[in-house]
């Protein structure tokens, strides 16, 4: 073999700033379009929290005294429940599938910046979370007698939507370790018990002492407390900053696990 040795460097064209922006926007747009066209995702993330809210927060509390308070309480906790589903399924299950079935490989073989892929998923999670919160708020105000000043309502939506960040990180960590077929089961096994133990379905003071202690180690508890404090129904004496710190710590740990999974992937074949 005639051997001309390699350095044959031709100028590699760079992407212009406008093109880079367009790339991130397109990635986000198509991620969102893709998710809205998957009925199972749209239904399980939007319809379930809404249904639970109507049943537990509104229908059950209607005839009792304190029904309005109950509807407001459930708005915060079911909002937290909804945001979690969006982030955990949107990141965990979709990443596990796209990774395990080789699609992520196709994307990584292209010049797509990896950040665009993850930011698009985060964008989709934020949009879905906002939609869920606005739906819950509308139902709460119209049928549950929920009465919140505009600023308070906006803050509640803002906090819960921002809460999709730690759960997106958790989804990312799950997505890097779960197999495509088992990912939905893994996410449910994390999501449902964690929600229950964090007092999202039944208020914590009605749960045994052991569970109340356990709750302080669970991220949904901290997000729910932040949301409840906003609407004046917080039960935990911990100052808000403590909850924020807990959520940041959770985010960092999950991102660390995800980064480990990302590196592990480089040496492995899938599909």
């Amino acid at each position: 073999m005639a051997s001309t040795t390699f350095p044959v460097v031709l100028a590699t064209p760079r992407r212009s700033l406008a093109r880079t922006f367009a790339l991130y926007a397109k990635e986000a747009k198509y991620e969102l379009i893709n998710k809205t066209r998957i009925p199972i995702y749209a239904i399980s993330t939007v319809a379930f929290p809404l249904m639970f809210y109507v049943l537990f927060g509104i229908v059950l509390g209607r005839s009792e005294p304190g029904g309005t308070e109950r509807a407001t309480y459930a708005l915060a906790t079911m909002g937290c429940f909804g945001v979690m589903a969006v982030a955990l399924f949107g990141f965990g299950v979709s990443l596990a599938m796209e990774r395990g079935q080789g699609w992520l490989q196709v994307k990584r073989a292209s010049p797509m910046p990896v950040a665009a892929y993850f930011l698009a998923k985060l964008f989709a999670a934020v949009v879905f979370s906002t939609v869920i919160m606005l739906l819950l708020l509308t139902v709460g105000v119209l049928f549950g007698g929920v009465h919140l000043p505009f600023a308070t309502a906006a803050k509640l939506v803002g906090i819960l939507v921002a809460g999709s960040i730690p759960f997106s990180a958790m989804g990312l960590a799950i997505g890097y370790f779960a197999k495509p077929n088992s990912a939905p089961a893994v996410v449910n096994l994390v999501y449902l018990p964690m929600s229950f133990c964090s007092g999202l379905w039944i208020p914590l003071f009605m749960l045994p002492h052991g569970l109340r202690v356990l709750a302080t180690f669970l991220p949904p508890f901290h997000l729910a407390q932040l949301a409840l404090n906003t609407v004046g129904l917080g039960t935990n004496p911990t100052p808000a900053w403590g909850h924020v710190e807990a959520l940041i710590a959770c985010t960092l740990v999950c991102l660390g696990v995800a980064a480990w999974g990302y590196r592990r992937d480089e040496g492995k074949t899938y599909g």
Partner: protein, 331 residues
């Protein structure tokens, strides 16, 4: 060298519409420029050796076929050249740089084997998105035309036939107008017609001056498309040559017969590459059948059930491996 470089640029950029028929054979460069190389590549997954100290060069403007059975290491090699897998040891250079940098990938296109593609996105949406990753993509319409997607651009991926799906993956590979393309088993699972169509699309890339690395386990596919073939087996290159050279080497025969000779006696016959007992018969791999059959009949007058068939590709690879091992023993 600078003339050659400008020639490469002219080839890849300035003649997009050249019809296939006008440039069936490109004159070889006086000294081939290697636009991608791998040196001493080693990779194992657990106990399985995927690549065993492999060296490879891809020349500008050629269609290089990596031919080998499943598990030969073809996909691993492609993944390394694309920078999505790292060798355990050895080095990879693509356009003079480490392909691990995303930057260099804007000059590469890849058609990989993929289990599942997001099914709700339409063909147009997939191509639009991948085009946006590249600094100078082809216009969408041109990608549709080259890949044969114009008719199906508004259909969701999930509703397409197998051949149409492969064409979308092909479109994803070419939409960025890359200089070097990796096509990993582009026709696997396609029917004859879809395969022919894919072949003509691949040929049109070469007519546009692209460099292509194609992996396949079909000898006829490598023969139909490639300028040069590397035969890969168990992570090593066991043969290299033009399609004509490889075919000549791979045209082995298989002889089957029942005989009173022992396995060892059959093995001793000159020209027998390998032999195995299959129930009460022997199966021999040979380069040329006639001298071996003559010898067999002479040594065993009771010989019966004689059958001579063309060796399948697996057997052809086996023959190549045998030759390879024999040569390395002599050295």
């Amino acid at each position: 060298m600078s003339t050659a470089i400008s020639r490469l640029q002219v080839q890849s950029r300035d003649v997009p519409g050249t019809p296939v028929a006008e440039t069936p054979h490109r004159a070889p460069l006086v000294q081939p420029i290697h636009i991608a190389s791998g040196r001493n590549l080693k990779k194992s997954y657990g106990n399985v050796v995927a690549l065993a100290n492999l060296n490879l060069d891809i020349r500008a403007g050629e269609l290089l076929a990596l031919l080998g059975p499943n598990g030969a290491g073809k996909t691993t090699l492609v993944r390394m050249l694309l920078g999505v897998a790292r060798p355990d040891s050895g080095s990879v250079s693509v356009f003079g740089a480490d392909p691990y940098q995303a930057q260099i990938r804007s000059r590469l296109g890849a058609m990989l084997q993929v289990g599942r593609v997001p099914e709700t996105l339409k063909v147009r949406e997939h191509i639009d998105l991948f085009s946006s990753y590249y600094p100078n993509p082809l216009p969408l319409g041109e990608t549709f035309e080259i890949a044969g997607l114009s008719e199906i651009q508004n259909r969701p991926y999930g509703e397409l036939s197998g051949g149409q799906k492969q064409r979308v993956l092909f479109g994803i590979a070419i939409c960025g107008n890359p200089d070097l393309l990796f096509l990993d088993e582009p026709t696997v699972g396609l029917d004859v017609e879809a395969r022919r169509l894919m072949w003509s699309q691949i040929r049109s890339l070469i007519a546009r001056g692209k460099t292509v690395l194609l992996t396949t386990h079909y000898l006829n596919e490598a023969d139909a498309l490639a300028d040069r073939i590397l035969v890969l087996n168990q992570g090593a290159i066991i043969a290299e040559g033009t399609p004509a050279e490889i075919k000549a080497r791979a045209m082995g025969k298989q002889v089957r017969c029942t005989s009173r000779l022992t396995l060892e006696e059959v093995r001793q016959i000159p020209g027998v590459l390998s032999v195995k007992a299959d129930r009460n018969a022997f199966e021999l791999q040979v380069n040329a059948a006639e001298p071996v059959v003559r010898e067999l009949l002479q040594r065993d007058t009771w010989l019966a059930d004689l059958e001579v068939t063309n060796a399948g590709l697996e057997e052809a690879f086996l023959a190549l491996t045998k030759n390879h091992n024999a040569e390395s023993k002599e050295n």
